[in-house]
Symmetry: D2
Subunit: 131 residues, 4 copies
């Protein structure tokens, strides 16, 4: 039984870099979220929010920054996800630069589900494939 | 009768710059909004939103970028505001680098007031001094 | 003789919205730049920077915000560009929400070309079609 | 022998929130960096970069998001720092909402020092008080 691996691409734009010449570290969290939203689909997330008042929130993020992506890079965001409990999704996510031998950034991101009043709710079914 | 001039300082951080070495152009719009929020006061804006369901929205922004601010700069944001009609505030805002002879960025920003459903509402009294 | 119209899509993510529920106004400037970079191609821009030390800089941005895009929207960014002089490109850019009858945001963006020392340089040939 | 505790305040602006009504999670990394830059001083960081070609880079960030800050909050960023080796600073940082009984966000941030070519360099003396 193997986990499904999801692939998503992000383009590094001017807005993402800082004056040191590489992507500003906080922006990888944005890339990882775009990838998760791409996996689940924006439409499913919009429906979840509008119909049920539910959204995902990042509860924990452990991130290692090993290499710096540059303007013009197309990054591969590689993601797997498991359901750690009824209340928590754990994503393993990596950002890869073109042709790289190892990931530039590695992250473990824990998500919970909350309603509009920020109360914890069980993880809803959004079609994720847990293997 | 003279307009009141408001002064507000912003610090340029790593996050604000891009790989060309200067502040990313869109971030001046953030600086100008921070300055407007500083002038009106966050507390007044929070009260307006929570009690009356009203918020300001940018309707038009005409911005000239004349010089590039760098990491470490403390910028002076100089603002004046006039009420153009019952439904529109017009801000003149400039960002000045330390010791500069002219503004780095100049902007005219038009604000309207909208309710939660995005309907246009008359500009509420938030204590602005129109001179 | 007609100008070429360029089309580019951007997805609205959580990161783009603010607590009023719609896209934060400054982020449209990011969308428009992503579209311009998409039109010219990141590779061409990287080569221009690395080989010739040249980059484009926004000199003027006149933006009208007519409607608010929401999380989950896929926006069409419609762009045309003309060369106003040897030293200036003028882009007309619009952001359209799905199925909308009019543009949500309209902008005229003036670009100049600068070297690493921020000196003005003639607009280089980057394969734009001026019609 | 006790570590020095540094305090720094950040104001939550519109730009920091997302459509769920609270601060977008990646922005706490920006707040923590602003606090670190405030502790070290922007002038010292600019001098380090311009004179020695050195800068700090985030190598690891472990962040727990326990509560959501809202627009209008003035957050206290509480920081301590230790030198873990000649090549690594470890910051413990927390973001506190006004009047809160516990931190909203807790982080351990590992910094390294790199030159312009991204080679690892020993941590330079920037006046930090390690207790």
């Amino acid at each position: 039984m193997t986990q499904r691996t999801y692939r998503f691409q992000v383009q590094v734009y001017y807005e993402d870099t800082d004056h040191s010449g590489v992507v500003y570290h906080a922006n990888y969290l944005k890339y990882f979220e775009r990838a998760r939203e791409g996996v689940i689909s924006p439409d499913a997330l919009v429906a979840l929010w509008k119909k049920k008042g539910l959204g995902f929130a990042v509860y924990k993020a452990n991130v290692s920054f090993l290499d710096g992506a540059e303007f013009g890079d197309t990054l591969d965001i590689i993601s797997t996800v498991r359901k750690d409990s009824d209340y928590r999704l754990v994503w393993q996510q990596e950002a890869w630069r073109p042709g790289a031998a190892k990931a530039a950034v590695q992250a473990e991101i824990h998500l919970v589900c909350v309603d509009r009043a920020k109360n914890l709710k069980p993880i809803p079914d959004v079609g994720l494939d847990f293997g």
